[in-house]
């Protein structure tokens, strides 16, 4: 996962995060966004259900 051919920090001159140069950043960004949306949908549904119990 080290984003440089040589496993040494002396060759690093730019991006140095895990997954740099692969599809991983895009994939994880997409998953993180999906998590946020899914949590909001789930939160809205469960809160509505709880509130309805007091109607």
């Amino acid at each position: 996962m080290f984003p440089y051919d040589e496993a040494s920090w002396s060759v690093v001159d730019g991006a140095m995060f895990a997954g740099s140069g692969t599809a991983l950043p895009g994939l994880t960004t997409f998953i993180a966004a999906v998590i946020c949306i899914a949590v909001l949908v789930y939160g809205q549904r469960s809160e509505t259900a709880k509130a309805k119990a007091f109607d």
């Binding site: 996962m1 920090w9 002396s10 995060f17 895990a18 740099s20 991983l24 994880t28 998953i31 993180a32």
Partner: protein, 467 residues
């Protein structure tokens, strides 16, 4: 020609003068950088104090505060007396031989970290030394953080002196050994196994969390916590808002904690002339920390909210988010940080409930938030960042991060925390110094030993407003 030569000499002198000024500026910046981490880390203690007092019942609120404040007070001198020495003496393990980086071993520690003899010049005001005091200060505050982590778990039934002894063993010895082994360029866990724990998920949080577990086993639960059939009762603290604000303050302080994990460039002791580095000598930027800490806080809160809806667990989730990613805050991609932190927030409550079902009364969830999640964070880095060089050095000459190395580190951190926590608390129990007497616990520890009242007027209705 002579004129040109004189001009050249003058120019060189001017450049030298400018460069000297830059060097002084850099030294002042470096000293100020670490100096400012100290009050920021004290905010962690403000947070722990509020959190712990809020989680205590009204009858114990001040005694919980006294205990927490005393832990901080004893941590500083004991870390000065021997904790700092331990850090520099044992990175290579016993018997304290010098390591390859030349900044470790008993001889080295004797030369720089003792408060007497020639070494005392590095442990006192010294116009030629702008580094030792601020480094000591930052490490002493790391030490105090470990004591505060344990402090919350044991509230409402531990004796004050017994607790202070435990805090000293944890803060000025146990975690320092872990730091020497895994948070030092000569540390054997780093040089041999490629352990990477940039933000001390394992060597601060897990060590303190499992030290607390060892203590809790001998201390036992609070009266009324468990029923005869083994089921647990919730013992609510007297002030949830205070607890939640305390947790938020801990998070504020963590920016200072993680800032203090960075080595400033351009000094004789720096790894680089022009780049920040980690304690291992690997490059880092404060921007990396900014991206990742914020994403970790957010992920942890959201994960905990999904399953608990409880502000206490949500803010504990924020802490868990930081702790679960602390090992790799220097190299994680921010969205990856968010996902790991989210998962930590999700599993948090399950882990705490699992522990409670085994009869452990951890009043604030410290074993789970710091211990379990700390180890989770150490191992997750092995999953996500295998292959990264763990140290500065040529390819093939330094160890790289691996799952195995991180797992070995996690096991060592568990043992370095749990074994002394269990052993010393067992001895204290034998000598009757661990748990307060039953009558005093029922009466309330404030009435027994604090000559003051937390809320002398109770919580009366507001006074009538002026017309």
């Amino acid at each position: 020609m002579e004129e040109q030569f004189a001009e050249l000499v003058a120019k060189v002198a001017e450049l030298e003068a400018t460069s000297g000024g830059a060097s002084v500026t850099n030294t002042m910046f470096a000293e100020t950088f670490y100096y400012l981490t100290i009050p920021l880390m004290i905010i962690i203690h403000v947070g722990f104090l509020a959190y712990e007092m809020g989680a205590s019942r009204l009858k114990n609120v001040l005694s919980s505060g006294v205990k927490n404040i005393l832990a901080f007070a004893f941590m500083i001198p004991t870390f000065y007396f021997f904790g700092w020495w331990v850090y520099w003496a044992f990175p290579t393990g016993l018997p304290g031989a010098p390591g390859p980086a030349g900044i470790s071993g008993i001889e080295y520690a004797n030369a720089i970290a003792l408060g007497w003899g020639d070494s005392a010049q590095y442990m006192a005001p010294n116009i030629a030394d702008n580094a030792s005091g601020v480094f000591f200060g930052a490490f002493a505050l790391f030490a105090a953080t470990t004591a505060s982590i344990m402090s919350g778990a044991v509230i409402e039934r531990i004796q004050t002196v017994g607790f202070v002894i435990l805090a000293i063993v944890l803060g000025s010895f146990a975690w320092v050994v872990a730091a020497a082994w895994g948070w030092h360029a000569d540390g054997w866990l780093v040089t041999k196994f490629g352990l990477h724990d940039f933000g001390a998920a394992g060597l601060v949080h897990a060590v303190a969390g499992f030290f607390a577990l060892g203590v809790l086993i001998n201390l036992g639960p609070r009266i009324g916590k468990f029923n005869t059939d083994g089921s647990a009762n919730a013992i609510a603290g007297h002030n949830m808002p205070l607890t939640v604000i305390g947790l938020m303050l801990i998070i504020v302080g963590f920016f200072g904690f993680l800032m203090a994990c960075v080595i400033v460039p351009g000094e004789a002791w720096s790894w680089f002339p022009d780049k920040f580095s980690t304690i291992y000598g690997t490059p880092i930027t404060l921007s990396a920390l900014s991206f990742n800490i914020l994403m970790a806080i957010a992920g942890g809160i959201i994960g905990a909210w999904v399953l608990t809806r409880d502000p206490f667990w949500m803010m504990s989730g924020a802490l868990a988010g930081i702790i679960s990613t602390a090992s790799g805050l220097d190299i994680y991609f921010p969205a990856m940080t968010f996902i790991i932190a989210f998962s930590a927030g999700l599993i948090l409550k399950f882990c705490a409930d699992w522990l409670e079902r085994r009869g452990i009364d951890d009043a604030v969830g410290a074993v789970t938030v710091h211990g379990t999640i700390g180890l989770y964070g150490v191992v997750m880095l092995g999953v996500m960042a295998s292959g990264f060089p763990a140290l500065q050095g040529a390819a093939g000459e330094v160890a790289t991060i691996s799952i195995m190395g991180q797992v070995i580190g996690a096991i060592v951190f568990f043992l370095v925390g749990f074994v002394p926590g269990y052993g010393v608390s067992y001895l204290l129990k034998m000598f009757g110094m661990l748990r307060i007497r039953e009558g005093a616990e029922i009466a309330g520890m404030d009435t027994v030993k604090v000559p003051a009242q937390g809320y002398p007027e109770g919580i009366p209705p507001s006074a009538v407003a002026a017309e």
